[in-house]
Symmetry: C2
Subunit: 438 residues, 2 copies
């Protein structure tokens, strides 16, 4: 199924843009086209956006050979740069992953239209009728790393929410992203929507990011989806508002009234299902009342699954493979098969630990005590707070949003998973019959 890389190279060379004599000029032109397209897609009806998304899914399937060839070219170039195996895996597409990309676009089409929803409506004593309705953000600039599927998710979600997107993918996935954007463009054309509604920065030149960050007044919102250094750069350099995804230092707290079996299943899944995602648990807190009974089998499971364990002195006494934890462990987002484990003196101490060391992303309690559960839900100040469930559910798809563009850790909305609905804002419509203000 994987096509010959050299044939792919030829095919792509035909589509490659001319060399960039003036990147700033190219970016400015993208910006102008994006603004024009944004005005059109903002007013496009649900039918037309969904037609585009479904046609794009079809085009992804029909272009399988081309897209996989483009991906092979990215992988071949990555070979030279000695990409880490994990990064290489994130970059690689295959027919199954590509089908998931197409199905993802169709799932976005299935969701209710987020634009034009009436969010609130009330009347005033003077007869004015006031309505708050959801509207698109405008032009969204999305800067992300090597996973090419983000290109389709981000482009699809932006379109669904009536925005124009300027996508800047990781340079390692440049050819894959370009081939996917070509399929998205096919979808837009099929629905007679402007192709410029989803544009990819047409160069791997890293200077393009700096130019994007300076496009205040053209790009309305920047969504950086990447590591801390990218997000810091965006916040430092840009005056454009940001939807930021920072650290996920997530906790699972096993309360005194936890069901031992649920605790065991959840702790293992929360840490080990995938260790590199932001919703992976990094610190396990266990109530001192049940630590001796509940914790040993959990530690055994985790050790057997290949997880390194770092614990406080009480935890050290419960399993011979535990290494001593330092305070730095409570502050570390490992994104790896390492877990910090701490015994705490009740729910108050657990909440205080989470407040002190956590990142307000996602935290869970395991308990059969409804009062404790509700207290945890109320007092833990995180974007997502769970009871009796794995922190790995911190995901827009798992929330039923169809797809996500990331998890926002900022306080102002959007907070938590960012799907199409979260890529809208609102405006007020006020209907009167001649009212003037006294």
């Amino acid at each position: 199924m994987m096509p010959n890389p050299s044939a792919a190279g030829t095919w792509l060379a035909n589509r490659a843009p001319a060399s960039q004599p003036n990147l700033a000029e190219t970016m400015a032109e993208m910006g102008r086209r994006a603004r024009e397209a944004a005005a059109v897609v903002a007013l496009a009806g649900p039918e037309s956006k969904n037609t585009a998304l479904r046609a794009a899914a079809k085009a992804v399937r029909a272009s399988e050979v081309e897209i996989l060839a483009a991906n092979a070219r990215d992988l071949a170039e990555a070979e030279g740069e000695k990409l880490a195996p994990a990064l290489r895996d994130r970059l690689a597409l295959d027919p199954k992953r590509l089908e998931a990309v197409a199905a993802g676009l169709e799932a976005i089409a299935e969701r209710p239209d987020p634009v034009g929803r009436s969010l609130a409506r009330w009347s005033r004593p003077n007869g004015l009728n006031i309505e708050r309705v959801a509207v698109p953000l405008g032009v969204v600039g999305i800067i992300y790393e090597s996973r090419p599927n983000v290109t389709a998710d981000a482009g699809g979600l932006a379109l669904k929410s009536g925005n124009a997107a300027i996508l800047r993918g990781g340079s390692e996935s440049f050819y894959s992203s370009r081939a996917l954007v070509a399929a998205l463009a096919d979808g837009l054309r099929a629905a007679r929507l402007p192709e410029a509604a989803i544009q990819l920065v047409p160069t791997r030149d890293r200077a393009a990011v700096g130019i994007m960050l300076g496009m205040s007044g053209v790009i309305d919102i920047i969504v950086p989806r990447g590591g801390a250094s990218l997000i810091e750069r965006v916040q430092r350099e840009s005056r454009i508002p940001v939807i930021a995804h920072l650290e996920g230092l997530c906790h699972t707290y096993i309360h005194a009234a936890a069901d031992p079996e649920k605790a065991r299943r959840i702790a293992l899944n929360a840490k080990m299902r995938r260790v590199s995602i932001c919703g992976a648990t990094e610190t396990l807190l266990v109530d001192h009342e049940v630590a001796r009974t509940i914790l040993p089998p959990i530690l055994a499971d985790l050790h057997a699954a290949g997880c390194e364990l770092r614990g406080d002195p009480q935890v050290l006494a419960l399993h011979r493979e535990v290494k001593p934890a330092t305070e730095q462990d409570w502050r570390t987002e490992y994104l790896d098969a390492i877990l910090a484990v701490r015994i705490v003196d009740g729910i108050g101490a657990a909440i205080a630990h989470i407040e002190r060391f956590g990142s307000h992303h996602t935290d869970a309690i395991v308990t059969e005590d409804t009062g404790a559960a509700e207290r945890f839900l109320r007092e833990v100040d995180s974007a997502i707070v769970l009871v009796n469930a794995s922190t790995q559910f911190a995901d827009g798809g798992e929330f039923g949003m169809g797809a996500e563009i990331g998890i926002s850790t900022q306080r102002l909305p959007p907070r938590g998973p960012v799907g199409a609905e979260q890529l809208t804002t609102y405006k007020y419509l006020v209907r009167g019959n001649g009212q003037v203000r006294p």
Copy 2:
């Protein structure tokens, strides 16, 4: 009623803070106290917050002599600095204005509690129940200019929404604000809430603003309420997220199907009721079909009311007092008794003018044609879009929010009037029974 300024001086000297040997230290200590207070007021019930607001209103009334004395001291010092009459008027309190401050706090207490509202709730096929609930922002830093009533509005709204507030008022109103904050503290004490929930920066030293802007991690959100230079400074210097209030370049468009009487009443009110507020109309657009019939009496009214008129060549022909407008007039937020008037060729041209020159704050159409009204509501991309009503309704109080902290012109929420509800964010509560992610 106005007490003797020198007596006021003595009274205030007793309450004055010691000189500031180290402003940075003072600010850091305020920040620590604010964070502690934020954790308490975030969980405070509606009763307790409303008790505090009502007790604060009582304390404002009971401290009338002290507050007016403090205001007299501000006014006396302003005398030396030769404040413009308009600024002096904004600074001055009298018994009537003070009663409005007290009543404003009571009005905030009457409003529904914005914290803990269930914003959405759904279940997933795996049995997870997901709920989005409104929660406070945390510590809100509010930087504003000379009107002392903002001190009470901002403090009251922050408390109602479960936030702690660090207030930095204009240095001209320092003593007035300090006396008002003392009344708010009385209210907090009466409800056994921490006084540090509403703190005023205890110095007129302008360096305090710079320190506030650097308090990332302590202050969650900055609300600058002031001129463009303040907001630009905040956006340039601070990494703390901002709720920004920029320009209000508002339009009123008189459509071909406008009712002439409504058009006349609305145009005069939208411009002249108060010329210095952000919701005042700055440009009047008139459909060419009706300009000759509808516009002359409107121009006569405005001229009679003391408004300077600047128009395009067609407008010049309709009234002898009109001066020629330049393109710069379409771009100017006068905040004064000056109106730019332009004849446009239909609703499309009106919307295009607003898109090109407006500030996406507040824009109105006057028409009896429902289709035109709905098109204007849909296509004009402003925080507030009105039909047959004055743009001067752009105000949280007029929207029924009890009070407002400003009008946000940013695209991401909160957009438009910012009341207590808009000073909240949300989190997701996920209730499971042992779910793990496959």
